[in-house]
Each structure stands twice: as C-alpha cells, then as structure tokens.
Amino acid sequence: MNEIELVERAKTGDTKAFEELVKKTQDKIYNLGIKFFGNKEDAADLLQETYIKAYESLPSFEGRSSFSTWLYRIATNFALMKLRKEKYKKISIDEIKKRVDGTYDRNDLSDWKDNPYFHYRNEELKEILSSAIDSLPLKYKTIFILHDIEGLSVEEVAKILSLSIPTTKTRIHRSRLYLREKLSDYFKKKGN
C-alpha cells in the first residue's frame, strides 16, 4: 500500500495503517531530532510529540503536501518551540550579514584545495562546524538542517516553515557563507 492509501485508511480510524505510516517515517523524524538537539532524549521527545500530534490532527490533514512533508512541519514546529528556550549562545543576524557581505572584500580567501587541515576526518574541524551550526540564529539553523543536511528541496523547506521561496533562498545562502567563513577562520588560525 502506498502512502496516500495508508493516509486514507488511517483517517478512517485504521490504526494498523497509521502504525504503518509511523514505521515508514520514524527513523527520519528521530534523526531529524538528533540534528536539532544533538541528544537522544530530546530526539525521543520530539518523536513522541510529533506522532501524537500527527495522530490527533490526521482528520484535518488534507493531503496538499505529502505526509512526510506534513510530519516534518509538525516536528520542526515542536523543535523550534523547544529550541527557543535553549541557552546556547547565538550570533545575531546582523553579524551574519556583516560577515557574509564581506566575503568578497576579504583578501584572504584561502584555497581549500591544498589545505592540509581540510579533510573529512578532521575531528577538530567537525567540532568547529558543529558548534558553528548550533550558534546560527534559529531561523537559519532550521533551514540549514532541513535543506543542506536533510536534503529537502527549497520548495519543501519554504512550505514547512511557511516562508517565501526568496526568503528561504537568502537564508540558505547566508548560512552557507557564514559556516564557510567559520571554517576559513579555523584554517587561518592553523596556518599561523
């Protein structure tokens, strides 16, 4: 049975069909939680809240988006609510803009090609990137996770977050440039 049929059945109260939908999507939502929070406990909470809400709201699901996009939307909203209370120090949006707009003017563009510190197993580098992602303002962090890490399309992300396509694109672009800058900083420090 495909997703649409399962949703139709689940809407009529077929709990087996609902559980089938959960089975098909649970790993995705759990992993999304890990990406948002970085720990199992919060990811497990997110998982529960998402499916409870999905079960309760199923009668009003109209199928305008796919079931998994709809789930992502529920999960992302829960995550945002929780993350807003987080104490992690965020950088300001102005700071991002300032750094990103300067990308061209800075003359120290390091060529990563021959950089001995750039390799995919450099744990220190991963650590830097990971905390840089955490330090992004929520609006940016969410988008970066959904688009660049999770691999959802610009259109899907815009739908999930109820944003316009241009706004979504701008935030994707700025997040990338900012994170790239952070890695460049690290290389510069290592070079000295």
């Binding site: 649970q26 759990y30 497990a44 890695l183």
Partner: protein
C-alpha cells in the same frame, strides 16, 4: 558579471535553482576566476562536511517501544 554578483548566485547554482542563461554566465566566470572558483568549492565542501556530521541512526528499541506505547494509549479515546 562581476565577482560580487557571481557570489550571490552560488547557492542558486548549487541548488540548481538558476536560469539557463545565468548558469552559462556563471560557469564561464568560474572557469576564468580563481577566487570565485575557490569560494564555490569551499561552500560545496562545507555542505558535504555538514552532511557527514551525522550518521543515520536507527531508533533505539527502548525509544521505539515508548513511542508506540504513547500512540496506542490514545487509540481508545
């Protein structure tokens, strides 16, 4: 097109959200401009590295059980 304009287009290029004519101009520029080429490449590497930060995990059994428990107690209502 100048470098600033090219840098603005980088993400659209990576996401294949760029128009055909712009894409051609973009690629032409990248071929002759080392700086923009380096920026494009480093952004692509940043994205790839970000993806590698997370290995896909299966839900631990305990968490899965708790999930189904939470769902099922709502069925009878």
């Amino acid at each position: 097109m100048d470098c600033k304009r090219i840098i603005k287009l980088i993400s659209d290029y990576i996401d294949k959200e760029i128009e055909e004519t712009e894409r051609e101009i973009f690629e032409q520029h990248i071929r002759i401009c080392k700086r923009c080429e380096a920026i494009l490449e480093s952004i692509e590497k940043t994205i790839l590295l970000s993806k590698l930060l997370y290995k896909k995990k299966k839900i631990p059994k305990k968490i899965e059980k708790a999930l189904y428990y939470q769902i099922r107690i709502r069925y009878k209502k």
